[in-house]
């Protein structure tokens, strides 16, 4: 089949045909919606010169040419590149600049294991063509998105610099092609919008995870936040003892069961940017009437990540008579895939917004009106969960996320 106008829909799980130009030849093959260009050429077309390292855009091993420009194959879904002109390292055998680079890499000992080399050559070729005036600093900047973990960069930089200076000596200027605005590989032609698809069934809710709550839990991160409400401390503290009502004020929180007054089982819907997940678990509740303070110690999981948290709250007199100040001391630990990322400041920011929503709902409820309709974020007995999620996320951007 060809890339003729047709609904461009790739069903979940199901495959559809992708047509593009690969190394100068038209190819058509099946791909799932989630299939990226690297998997498409490697698994489907058996071109294994494109290497996959980090799979989130940082290491550069998968860098290929899309519409003649370097792009991350791991961050380019095949379904978004219908009709694109794709060139992998296999397609650069006869490219004169790549030939010069190959010779220079050989001469300067610019590779050992070779894992980074395909991506390195694609990025180096772009530097040679686009920046004929580049010095060593500029070359190093230009290669910052291609990680090498064995050879070291000295030989690579020397190789690229030698090709650039040789071309400069021949008076060859920058060679850049005309291109339209917008992401490379994205073609408007050959596709029409699909009829509205039928709704896809949502994923089953993750099963509850039984997690023991250690008495000596030491959170990895902690922060304190507080808010005031215009009701007497005794009334506010009493409210905190009515768990169902507390949960109703927490956007995203649901209570499944309360096996005892001290134990609650439930879930927390967490939404942060593109991340939406539900943590399910249980929490143990403690209260001390004498000091108008209490604890919520919870743990939960979403099937991949786990979190445990301890919230200590105390209700004190507010700034003016008849008002209360609620001080929350939040500690949490996050484990699982999310835990490799962490940006505690972001957690505080998200928690701050949740607490503000919670406080507004609390005030409305104490005042006799219903809380605003539940939004998607949550703060809660399992507020920890939220923190966890945002924490991971944060580290992703900070350390891993290549984009801005």
């Amino acid at each position: 089949m060809t890339a003729s106008p047709r609904p461009e829909t790739i069903a979940m799980g199901a495959s559809r045909m992708i047509s593009l130009t690969l190394n100068g030849r038209p190819v058509t093959a099946e791909a799932e919606g989630r299939t990226n260009l690297a998997d498409f050429v490697r698994d489907t077309l058996n071109l294994t010169g494109t290497h996959l390292g980090c799979e989130h855009g940082v290491c550069g091993a998968c860098t290929i040419l899309v519409d003649g420009e370097p792009a991350r194959a791991c961050l380019s879904f095949a379904g978004a590149c219908q009709g694109a002109d794709v060139i992998t390292i296999e397609g650069l055998d006869d490219d004169p600049v790549t030939a010069e680079l190959r010779a220079a890499f050989n001469r300067e000992h610019a590779l050992q294991c070779g894992f980074c080399t395909p991506g390195m050559l694609v990025s180096a070729r772009d530097l040679v063509l686009r920046l004929p005036e580049a010095d060593e600093t500029r070359i190093r900047l230009g290669l910052a998105g291609n990680l090498c973990r064995c050879t070291g960069y000295a030989g690579i930089v020397k190789a690229v610099a030698s090709v650039i200076s040789a071309r400069r000596a021949q008076g060859i200027g920058p060679m850049t092609a005309e291109r339209p605005l917008g992401p490379v590989g994205a073609r408007a032609g050959g596709a029409v919008s699909a009829a509205l698809p039928t709704t896809v069934a949502t994923a089953a809710a993750p099963s509850a995870t039984t997690t023991s709550l250690a008495e000596d839990f030491t959170p990895a991160h902690s922060f304190e936040q507080s808010f005031e409400v215009p009701f007497p401390p005794a009334e506010v503290f009493a409210f905190f003892g009515r768990i169902e009502e507390v949960a109703a004020c927490l956007p995203g929180a649901v209570i499944d069961a309360m096996p005892s007054p001290e134990k609650v089982e439930g879930g927390m819907r967490v939404k942060l940017g593109p991340i939406a997940t539900t943590f399910r678990g249980s929490a143990r509740i403690g209260r001390d009437d004498a000091t108008k303070s209490g604890t919520i110690h919870g743990a939960g999981a979403d099937g991949r990540s786990r979190t445990e948290g301890l919230i200590r709250y105390r209700v004190t007199d507010g700034a003016t008579p008849g008002t209360a100040r609620v001080v929350l001391d939040v500690g949490y630990t996050l484990k699982g895939p999310l835990a490799q990322f962490g940006r505690p400041g972001l957690v505080r920011e998200v928690a701050g917004r949740l607490i503000a929503e919670f406080a507004a709902n609390l005030e409305a409820r104490l005042g006799g009106t219903q809380p605003s309709p539940t939004q998607e974020r949550g703060l809660d007995p399992l507020k920890l969960l939220i923190s966890l999620v945002s924490d991971r996320l944060g580290r992703l951007w900070r350390r891993g996320g290549p984009t801005s």
């Binding site: 799932e32 370097p70 961050l75 379904g79 994923a203 939406a276 996320g401």
Partner: protein, 287 residues
């Protein structure tokens, strides 16, 4: 890691994209170049059922120049700005910012609209366009609307976009020839997200200026009147009067409790001011 399965749709018009997005509800995510969402999909931090890929919509691959400002379509890439295919709002203003975003292979697909919609507090466009006073154009089920950056950015990774709404363009005011733009970001490694961003837009001819401290895990702190940072007035010698205590006080008021963090942000802002001042005399080369 591989993404969880999802369905991908490539509408050709903004209206179709809005309809698709609305139909997908909470399980639908919009994608432009995919350079922010892609990593989250691959790590399965984001597991949408439906991806509405905007990259086939011609109306978003545009730049409109009007009196006083330039309107960038949501699909204009960082590389489009870096290379000058999309005009700049002044001499080497956005171009300089664009060339410092991530890596070239990412800049070739990453878009202004996608970056703003992702709303990472440490992202370059989120900060640069805030200090430049940009506004975003939004299309949605209820029609079109426009928001200043400050109202658009609702929090870390959160925007004012309602369900079904799409950011379709960014309107950026042109920078007067008498003004200078300082933009400094602090990273441990080239291409990573910033740990601190400082920016100033200073115009001694009018005695006005704006300043920004960003990458504070929340939307950037924008000082609409930067004079307080420079002894109460803005003139040719503004930078040497940079008042670190005023900047620090603004951060304290914004809730930054860590003194070391504040120190870094204040210093990065000072460097941005110094950079802007140096641009009044230097001839700059393109990045």
């Amino acid at each position: 890691m591989k993404p969880a399965p999802f369905r991908i749709e490539r509408p050709r018009t903004i209206a179709d994209a809005v309809a698709l997005l609305a139909s997908g509800g909470d399980g639908a995510k919009v994608m432009a170049g995919g350079q922010s969402l892609g990593p989250m999909l691959n790590l399965r931090l984001a597991t949408p059922d439906l991806i509405v890929d905007l990259s086939g919509i011609d109306d978003l691959r545009t730049v409109r120049e009007e009196a006083g400002h330039i309107i960038y379509g949501a699909l204009v890439t960082h590389a489009d700005v870096e290379d000058g295919r999309a005009p700049d709002v002044g001499t080497n203003i956005l171009r300089r910012v664009a060339s410092g975003i991530a890596y070239r292979a990412v800049r070739n697909r990453g878009t202004m609209g996608g970056s703003l919609s992702h709303a990472d507090p440490a992202a370059d466009w989120v900060n640069a366009l805030s200090v430049l006073g940009a506004e975003v154009e939004i299309a949605g089920p209820a029609g079109a609307r426009r928001l200043p950056m400050g109202a658009f950015l609702a929090g870390a990774l959160a925007t004012a976009l309602e369900p079904g709404e799409i950011l379709v363009g960014v309107q950026v005011p042109k920078v007067p020839a008498t003004a200078r733009f300082g933009y400094v970001k602090h990273c441990r490694k080239v291409g990573e997200f910033a740990h601190a961003i400082g920016a100033v837009l200073i115009d001694p001819a009018t005695g006005t200026g704006r300043a920004l401290m960003g990458a504070i895990d929340a939307p950037p702190l924008v000082l609409a009147d930067a004079a307080t940072l420079f002894g109460g007035r803005i003139d040719a010698g503004f930078a040497v009067r940079f008042d670190a205590s005023a900047a620090n006080a603004a951060l304290v008021a914004a809730g930054l409790t860590d003194a070391v963090d504040r120190h870094v942000h204040v210093e990065v802002l000072r460097r941005a001011a110094t950079q802007a001042a140096s641009l009044f005399t230097d001839t700059r080369s393109a990045a």
